[in-house]
Amino acid sequence: MDRIDLGGLFLHFLILWFVAIGGPSTILPDIHRYLVDVHHLLTNTQFADLYTLAQVAPGPNAMYVTLIGWHLAGWAGAAATTLPMLVPASTLTLLVGHLNERYPDAPIGHAIRRGLTPITLGLVFASSTILMRAVNHDWRGYLITLLTVAVVLRKPWNPLWLFAGGALAGILGFV
């Protein structure tokens, strides 16, 4: 386990938040690479646990980043991973919001969205495979994952129920 370099952590997350087009799930693979593979600050299981715990908290699903930071280094760690999230939000957003008000139908906006959607798709797929490899040790874990997909695509249920089901399956020794 490496010592935690808070400045390095802050910088890494600052860069990540600037490329997190498509939302907080797109940077999960790189956070995993940086913390688990490169710096050995978390195990695979800890990483999956922290990500999942934050998904049952209220608020944006970006909060997993805060929880990971807190777990690594308390409040300073939480600040190092969370505050960089505000930098693109408070600079780019106001700039682009202003441009958009001025040129509401600029075609570049459509091109950005259409061009980046497939990349978002590839990155979120990478996120799901990383979680699956971390926690699904045999077919039973994959079965829970596939059941979740089947339910989400058919029913508008609150995901909290699905997490409750997953927790129950785990406690009953299914996974």
């Binding site: 999942t52 209220p58 805060t66 929880l67 969370t82 957003t93 906006g109 909290l160």
Partner: protein, 184 residues
């Protein structure tokens, strides 16, 4: 757009803080639904169309898109301090909740039952991400190019485990340029 400025309601920093606290604390699994309900239906600070425009801008930009919306709304009504009040409401409470979870995890995370429950929940979390991928895939055009970009992003980040910055730096400009050319 002149007419969007004309009916700007008077909104205090406290109102911003309280509204975004309410959005944040009611949103499990996606805040956008609750943001629309609060800002358009309950407070009537925005018309449907204005809200949609701001949300679209938020989606174009990096980071959580409802956070981007939060900054835009706060700034529009009360400048930088308004943005700070809205962000404090939106992020403050969930921060406290996840830190509480972190404390419990450090205390009890190693218990076998807790570990089993978390493993089952993580399998669900992976399924939620996979469902997002499938939903996105259904809106992708039936053309080889977007699928190629999606596959390259997946292989670069998920299989080769290259840094995201390199992969985005190589793919994003190319993908946006291709989409731009196609439009013309």
């Amino acid at each position: 757009m002149e007419q969007t400025e004309s009916h700007k309601p008077n909104v205090s920093r406290l109102a911003l803080f309280l509204s975004f606290s309410r959005i944040s604390l009611s949103s499990f699994g996606g805040a956008i639904f609750w943001a629309r309900r609060e800002l358009v239906e309950r407070q009537r600070w925005f018309a449907e169309r204005e809200f949609l425009e701001m949300f679209t801008v938020g989606q174009l930009l990096p980071g959580p898109n409802v956070l981007n919306l939060t900054v835009m709304v706060g700034y529009r009504f009360a400048g930088w301090t308004g943005a700070a009040a809205a962000v404090a409401g939106f992020l403050g409470w969930p921060c406290l909740v996840v830190v509480g979870m972190g404390v419990l995890y450090q205390q009890y995370g190693a218990l076998p039952q807790v570990q089993q429950a978390l493993t089952g929940m993580s399998s669900v979390a992976a399924g939620l991400l996979l469902a997002t991928v499938i939903k996105l895939a259904t809106v992708l055009p039936r053309h080889w190019r977007p699928w190629l970009f999606g596959a390259l992003a997946f292989v670069g980040v998920g299989v080769m485990r290259w840094p995201l910055l390199w992969v985005m730096g190589a793919l994003a400009p190319w993908a946006v340029f291709a989409a731009w050319k196609e439009q013309e």
